[in-house]
Point group: C2
Amino acid sequence: WRYKVDEVHADSSTFVAGVSKSQAYDQVLTQATALFAHQTNWVCNTANTASLLYHALQALPSPSNKVNWAGFYVLDPSHPNQLILGPFQGKVACQTIKFGKGVCGAAAQSEKTHIVPDVEKFPGHIACDSESRSEIVVPVMKEGKVVAIIDIDCAVEEGFNWEDMKHLEELAGLLADACVW
Amino acid sequence: WRYKVDEVHADSSTFVAGVSKSQAYDQVLTQATALFAHQTNWVCNTANTASLLYHALQALPSPSNKVNWAGFYVLDPSHPNQLILGPFQGKVACQTIKFGKGVCGAAAQSEKTHIVPDVEKFPGHIACDSESRSEIVVPVMKEGKVVAIIDIDCAVEEGFNWEDMKHLEELAGLLADACVW
């Protein structure tokens, strides 16, 4: 991709208008790989990854550019079977989510990616932000256990497809391996 | 302020256009107090605080609405005298900063708020993002030691004044007390 991978710079989250979804995710994965090469701190790495994802999706045509929240929930060190808010880009978000509750909790419990084309039709949806209309949640699995989830919300219905899923699952694998959780 | 403080919701980072800087920071402090009331996790609390700050400043007239980065660096648990990136809103950022380096490192070392009207004139400025033109950094002090810094960048010169400093120092005190660092 067009950016050097040996420097950390805000330009790594500058995405050229007109790139395809595949190209944008390629840039995210290339930059994330470079960022994680010498850094294992999960807070630092998820903070930069949320920025990469948010700016990548904003650079794409609709519906991707209607993404209004991109970030992470991680295992709550204080409460078993509960997620707690990690780094994100977007508006203020729910602090904790029990396993099994809402789309995030369902993905964490089932250990499977959830693509929800219309969150209002998802049983037990947690409406942190009434603007959100669709959502994708991808578990980050380390040694067979969920350590975090990638959560992205979109302000229009059907914001995500198989292509988001494919690349985000690759990113989740990268994060799982790169970070000390 | 106009929002209920007993619920966590994206609306808490919705700031009405036309509010004064003082009113916007009042909303930040009110919402932060509510968010921290039952939550001591520093990652969760700084993630929501970065969102509150970024959206508050975006709602104000220039220069505040030219803020292009708002977030946190914390003590690096792996390296003494080094800061590591925490939750933020904006583009990808430098992962680690040594005490004494750049504006963030200077504020951490001196334990004093730094307002820099023109970052290009600051000796040793770290240009994570060439768009940034001015900066404010406020240390978060717990029991006499720096545990984190609040860092905000603006894309125009002279983005911050005594009013930002006053309210951000209050916020830093709130964060210091509320979180387990």
